[in-house]
Subunit: 280 residues, 2 copies
């Protein structure tokens, strides 16, 4: 018997041959599954969509964590919304300046599944610098003390289901309010190959909360179409020249995607993507 | 009834919902099919593998053509090996300095299919600067007059089947011999996500023919894992600073992937890929 997992996306299907089904859970919010695949190792699924795989989670987590952390001159206090697998926290902990990370995850079953099946991804969650708060990210940010954070990282699922509220203008405004004047937000912002309407909605909402935003891109082979974007947003103007390139050297050996060259290169966007975002 | 086309790759499957099967041909060398899909428009398949799709052929063709053409100070005489769909020729014709392009394609049925179903890709094949030669690329390059070409572009299928000979050290050596001292070769060099053994074999062979080589990368959503590489090779040292960035402006409006930023950024390689190639 051959078992395959399929992820379908408007007339496209991405399928993985399964070695083993390791975990199946229905939480209060979503379905959570862990499968072991021939091609990409273990895989965490939420509502039937690929969240992380052993083969390429490093691209996603290095991009969502180190780009904002190195774009900031001295990040100390950080909030991560979503990201219950722990990969973003693992990368943030490589920055010695970071003193406190609060992980706000709505679903403790995601954390539980990651601790059990992805110990290399979730290990950082036990670090004394990390506080885990189980609750809704929208409320958490709405009620956060203003002007106190250096970085907020939105490590969310897609803008459907429980993640929907994390893509609204109101949410981005409350994130902006929680940040110090030189604070930065990074969020995952879907695939550049998606339709311009859905992409523009995200960027219009980010722009509604922040004065400045810069999308950036990298290949994540197990996300739809193999190519993903994140967005760095700030209240003050920011440019690639503001990166602390040298700080990357502190942990360069631990990275599998980023290097000094790519810190700048991820902000070089294809023409077709710029057109979709109205940046041409 | 739902029809789907599947491309399988070691425990991974990429599938496309089919609107229509437009063409099915078995040539002397390979099977050639054209299908119309919901997600990515019309698609040309060779031996069941995706060659081009309407949705993203521009990324592949802009990268394989403009990177070498703008890396050269004054390209005039060009040979394209493979590339019977005509997309590489279409892009090369945007360079006013190019006086002559010889397309050497082994299978005239590929050209026929492209002319019939992909008129926007194949249009350049009728340009008076273009000569079409139907024959084997390995023999063509072996017998080519030495030191006469400015660019040779290897727009081949994968290193299995008819394309296999286009990845050997002997072949790359004959390409190097056909080039003037400042001549450049560009070839497609598979996905950075592939295993290091198969990737290293390609680069070892390129290095055997040329003193210098520089891989570069871009997202092609319909190739396995959505991320592809090409390699620029030369007998003389070459660096990104040698690009004629301004020449891009002559046809910048016609491009959907490349821009000045990306000319340099495509050479910024992920750490995992550098490790596979022994570049770290």
């Amino acid at each position: 018997m051959q078992l395959w997992f399929h992820e379908e996306d408007n007339g496209l299907k991405f399928s993985y041959k399964i070695k083993d089904v390791l975990y199946r859970e229905r939480s209060a919010y979503q379905s959570i599954d862990v499968i072991d695949t021939e091609a990409v190792g273990k895989m965490l699924l939420i509502d039937g969509l690929v969240m992380i795989t052993e083969s390429d989670e490093f691209v996603y987590h290095e991009c969502i964590a180190h780009i904002p952390a190195l774009a900031h001159s001295n990040p100390r206090k950080v909030v991560v919304i979503g990201g219950g697998d722990g990969g973003t926290v693992r990368e943030l902990l490589k920055h010695p300046s970071i003193e406190e990370i609060t992980l706000c995850e709505i679903d403790d079953k995601v954390i539980e599944a990651s601790r059990r099946f992805f110990p290399e991804v979730s290990a950082g969650l036990d670090n004394p610098k990390v506080n885990t708060y189980i609750g809704d990210g929208v409320n958490y940010m709405k009620n956060h003390e203003p002007s106190t954070l250096d970085l907020v990282i939105i490590d969310s699922t897609d803008p459907i289901g429980p993640g929907e509220g994390l893509f609204t203008k109101d949410f981005y405004s409350s994130v902006a309010q929680s940040l110090k004047s030189n604070g930065l937000m990074a969020c995952q912002s879907e695939s550049p190959w998606y339709g311009s309407e859905s992409l523009q909605r995200i960027f219009d909402n980010v722009a509604g909360g922040f004065g400045h935003y810069r999308p950036y891109v990298a290949p994540v082979s197990t996300y739809p179409r193999g190519y993903w974007s994140w967005t760095l947003a700030s209240k003050e103007a920011w440019s690639v020249g503001d990166f602390d390139f040298d700080r990357l050297e502190l942990f360069a050996d631990s990275l599998s995607y980023l290097n000094k060259d790519l810190l700048a290169a991820v902000f070089s966007l294809p023409q077709f993507y710029k057109k979709k975002l109205g940046l041409l």
